[in-house]
Point group: none
Chain length 533, copies 2
Amino acid sequence: MTGERIYLYDTTLRDGAQTQDVDFSVADKIAIAKDLDRLGIDYVEGGWPGANPTDDQFFAEAPELARATFTAFGMTRRPGRSAANDPQLTALAQSRAKAVCMVGKSWDFHVDVALNIPREENLDLIRDSIAALHAAKGEALFDAEHFFDGYKRNPAYAVSCIRAAFEAGARWIVLCDTNGGTLPHEVDAIVREVVETHGIPGDRLGIHCHNDTENAVANSLAAVRAGARMIQGTINGLGERCGNANLVSLIPTLMLKMGYETGIRREDLPLLTQLSRAFDDRLNRAPNRHAPYVGASAFAHKGGLHVSAVEKDPSSYEHVAPEAVGNRRQIVMSDQAGRSNLIVRLRDIGMAVDAKDGRLAGLLDLVKQRDSDGYAYDTAEASFELLVRRELGEVPRFFELLRFHVTDERRYNAVGKLVVESEAVVRVRVGDAVRMEVADGNGPVHALDVAMRKALEPAYPALAKVSLSDYRVRILAAKEGTGAMPRVLIRSARTDGTEWSTLGVSTNIIEASMEALVDSYTYALMKGDAKPV
Amino acid sequence: MTGERIYLYDTTLRDGAQTQDVDFSVADKIAIAKDLDRLGIDYVEGGWPGANPTDDQFFAEAPELARATFTAFGMTRRPGRSAANDPQLTALAQSRAKAVCMVGKSWDFHVDVALNIPREENLDLIRDSIAALHAAKGEALFDAEHFFDGYKRNPAYAVSCIRAAFEAGARWIVLCDTNGGTLPHEVDAIVREVVETHGIPGDRLGIHCHNDTENAVANSLAAVRAGARMIQGTINGLGERCGNANLVSLIPTLMLKMGYETGIRREDLPLLTQLSRAFDDRLNRAPNRHAPYVGASAFAHKGGLHVSAVEKDPSSYEHVAPEAVGNRRQIVMSDQAGRSNLIVRLRDIGMAVDAKDGRLAGLLDLVKQRDSDGYAYDTAEASFELLVRRELGEVPRFFELLRFHVTDERRYNAVGKLVVESEAVVRVRVGDAVRMEVADGNGPVHALDVAMRKALEPAYPALAKVSLSDYRVRILAAKEGTGAMPRVLIRSARTDGTEWSTLGVSTNIIEASMEALVDSYTYALMKGDAKPV
């Protein structure tokens, strides 16, 4: 237990953004940067100002971060141009970042072939760029691209590159395993040589690993044990090819097992599970149940003997306490275990139910049936609460949806343009009245939402404060004899900032959407203490 | 490069079968065992005879394996019973397995609390069981449960347990990190002590790791470097909680990077990618694109400058050759797409375009514009190819969609059940004829697909061989002045096994879906050399 400080540098918004299928909007970037700052990450790398319109806009609207250093990424100056005359360096210097991390070559082969300049000149590029940005920003970092591959072939040259950055004032020299092929024992040996033989102090060294051999986490830990004091990585190991080092796995290992301090307060460590899952949610992908520390199955135990041993002493079957990272133990398989699981979930939604309550068995059967039908209630707490309260007869009958139909039509509009327009008709019983309304929208779900609100808001004006903030569809694998099942997840927000998620599952995407919409309105009314008319 | 032999032990069918949501049939087990045998895995652990009906049946029908040792798993004998009198050991001895691996305690705490017997007696259980199965089968293995946790608390006792197995004739003593919390530097130190201080030879030691800190692969490698010569793991890292050590990642690292020999012939190593993907297919889950070595993105390259360097010398950006493991290089488009990127992409779809071709600039602008509109072409190769070929006038006009409308209606069906039914009407020009067709489906997209096929198949019967295999929707963040933008991705398959992805983007989900459908039909016709009527 060393108590030494490790600095955490998140590159989700830059290197992570290279991932196939990942496409952050400016709003995504702002929300993610704030989550990282709240957790206590030291550096949040926002992107590359000047590289694309998203990054330009993000840096123009740079988020206010309370603790993290907002950092820009860029490249050492171009050959044949002074640092002062390089528009890319100027953009970095003028950006609203508090620090700048610049990538440069440290493998002789890449200097020869990719840059095609004398090797001495590459040292000038590094020196000039670091000096210029150090002067402009007060904090410049050097990303030594391909450092490990370069060091294996030509250690003297690789070291001369990082020494140039060190002498020019780089706060951190980040040793990059760009191709991801270096193994932990190699990282250990090379970092030790850099510190002990070549005299670059460990508290100026960072590590940047990729997961091409499934060793990105181990390589990062090896570098830290060899002396490096900064780790670059991403949320959930996002990143091109096989991903970057996964900060979500590294953080608990560093803090709970190796005794290092980071910028994260120990009492904030439980934010980790939520941060990891919310991130996947934002990317519209199912969180990895098997993710170390934060996955839903990470602390799953099967029934029987094992469970009673876990109950006697959890530490005998768990390598850390799940609560320490904001996760929870899950007991699977036995009915008894399912029951105590359910009690915990009910407690989470504010329902104190006694373990001997006769209604538990029925609820458990219902939840199991719905789970097997594809209702993933862990992503939709509001629908879970409605399911339970409906079963217990605790949800007022605010309205009843009788019929609806939606038409989507491709036609020429009034100004002769080919458009697709959606029109929805709904028939809803509200109190004693049956209201029929029609609306159009820029899609069938939008049209249904507008029509439903026309029908409901006269009786329930509070709904005007509720809007849909996200809509997602995932297709569940087809069961025997049916078609594929769309699962629709809708996120709703009230003007007071509260948010909730509801879901619907059906072979018909429109019906699944309507189910999620109806749950959303009902939840809003129930939580807003509306009285049924 | 040592040339030393490492033995590979696959426990997918036993420890992997503990995974939540995984449920192998006997047919699955037989197919997987044969795949492992074909690859050259040394030991295939089939399960636990006597533990459940699937394993009983599987062992009764034990597959004929050409090279692998078919192995059964079990437990050391019960306290208070002789080995000869323990029905579980008898079942193991009588099973059709060629070797037996038995788990036993090596952590004093578990002997005290879980077994609740004197510690000396546990040594007897181990000794008797190994001796009995060694006599019965010729090969017995000992799985030392919780070895690392036990060794940290009471090294003398942990070692006495494995020494008992060693002296009773165990071919392998497998050191298990059962809770998965041990770190690579700890595995390294403990295995070295077991070999050097306690005198258990490395060629009798195996390692069994779990991925709870994302270090299962690194821990396995650390044990091998410390002297152990057998590794237990699973295909794709399947296993309870966070999974077991991933053999698919370990094998290429051992053989291509560390110079070890295994039972796998070098010329068979390219079977690995196919084995990994076929396994996910069997589990009905999408293969992990980002899996080390075998993922579809494992050798993906993005970004202009980078791609031109890859072209010059792939080894400068790839840690191993993708072909060595049966994978392939992939060049992806993105908003960083440069001209050289585009040229490579065009070459991938069979279009040889010279770097000086005057049409490149226009194509590049078009691709960038579409990217910024939300068309993520890296996930939809077919739509990318159509975009380019349409721009170059190379896509025949197979048909023209003139109008469509879809109605989704919630109503009571003929047997009085409330259902939502979708009905689509399409009007399509095919050659000189305008065809109008109507169809219903279990959702608006299904209905549209059926109606379109009714309109197209009379002229293009080849479309009957094409079906939709996946449908996904993601909502892109709203741009200024518009609503949210659904992006629809459709995956299609032909009966000959070829697959392709197409996409559509629109404020209206139905229109986006129709765009992706039209691309899918067009691509199928173009690739099938259909002649426009």
